[in-house]
């Protein structure tokens, strides 16, 4: 239990850049070092973790923790993965109130803001080569309706899921005929 906590603490503390960057780290700790789950389970876990809502790292922590030590294991793995982020951001938030109007910090953030926008926009551009034109219409319509019409992203997500399911059902029926 303690080891689960410790392993996921390490994963949480050294994973920069979000979910996908964590995968090799998780692989090393969970499969190679501790042999908590096998390779085949790892694949199933990654599909589960990517399909269910929430951060991928958190989802994998629940899976590995529960498989090895039940609910207690899941809780300690989750505590491990959340704690480094939590402590670090809390410290930054505590400090930031005081240093926010420091001219050096202000200048640094003026530089970082447009950089952040570029980081968010980049994956959309790199997708543009692989995505079908019809899907592009959906993507643009989604972005437009959230930003200018103020539609809720949650409603659009549900609509997308339902349409996808309807298409699968319709497709299955057509193939049966």
């Amino acid at each position: 239990m303690w080891q689960l906590f410790w392993s996921f603490l390490k994963i949480g503390a050294f994973s920069f850049g979000g979910g996908y960057a964590m995968i090799p780290l998780i692989e090393r700790e969970v499969i190679e070092r501790h042999k908590w789950i096998g390779r085949a389970d790892f694949l199933d876990m990654m599909i589960l973790a990517q399909s269910s809502p929430g951060p991928i790292a958190l989802n994998t922590a629940v899976f590995v923790g529960y498989k090895t030590r039940g609910v207690g294991g899941a809780l300690s793995a989750v505590a491990g993965i959340v704690l480094p982020s939590f402590v670090m951001i809390l410290l930054i938030a505590l400090l930031f109130a005081d240093i926010r109007h420091n001219p050096w910090i202000e200048a640094a953030f003026k530089g970082m803001r447009p950089a952040v926008v570029a980081l968010i926009a980049a994956p959309i551009l790199s997708l543009s080569k692989t995505v079908h034109r019809l899907l592009w219409t959906v993507i643009v319509a989604t972005a437009f309706s959230i930003h200018w019409l103020g539609w809720s992203p949650v409603v659009l997500l549900l609509a997308g899921a339902l349409l996808g399911i309807a298409y699968e059902v319709w497709n299955a029926k057509r193939l049966n005929r």
Binding site: L48, Y66, A74, V82, A115, V117, I124, V169
Partner: protein, 188 residues
């Protein structure tokens, strides 16, 4: 009560956070900036920048930060810590319960056609949500200085540079740190 609203908002973000970090940005933005006005658009961009250079999932980072900010608005740092705890627990709860159920019943999502259909239907929406997050930072809701990500021509130079860097697969942490450095050189 504001802490209860904070809890509900982050519960919702956790529950509908399909498609990983960047996709969750639009949900977070919608709840925190648009609906409740707890952060300005500019502060939101700042927390994304901080999340990029600190470890851990962006959803958790933003929950801790926003929780602290919202709590601290109630008057003291103690409330800030309480707020960050509440938001962080709330954003983790849906993951925890849904993954526990899926793992317990060992539901294999591989080859499940309905789930695959739902995922396929959500994918373009998720990409659209990422685009909406970027749009909101480019075209903020108000003209106040704290909302602006782009203040002059240098902003667009930095934007273009980072965009090219990202497409060339340069490490994003390095790109953020470089733009912070350039920010100091240009604006200080």
């Amino acid at each position: 009560m504001i802490l209860w609203q904070l809890f509900l908002s982050y519960l919702k973000i956790g529950f509908f956070g399909f498609g990983g970090g960047y996709a969750m940005l639009s949900l977070i933005q919608n709840e925190i900036v648009v609906r409740h006005g707890w952060l300005s658009g500019g502060e939101f961009a700042d927390i994304v920048a901080i999340s990029q250079i600190t470890p851990g999932p962006i959803a958790i980072n933003s929950a801790t930060y926003v929780g602290y900010t919202v709590g601290a608005q109630m008057g003291s740092e103690g409330f800030g810590v309480l707020g960050s705890l509440i938001a962080t627990v709330a954003v983790s709860l849906p993951s925890l319960t849904i993954m526990l159920l899926l793992t317990h019943f060992f539901i294999r999502l591989r080859n499940n056609r309905l789930i695959e259909g739902a995922m396929r239907g959500m994918r373009p929406v998720v990409v659209g949500m990422i685009a909406a997050a970027a749009l909101m930072l480019i075209f903020p809701a108000s003209a106040s200085a704290d909302e602006q990500s782009f203040i002059d021509a240098w902003s667009w130079v930095l934007f273009g540079g980072v965009l090219i860097g990202q497409i060339r697969k340069i490490n994003p942490i390095l790109l953020i740190l470089l733009s912070a450095l350039l920010g100091i050189v240009i604006y200080h």
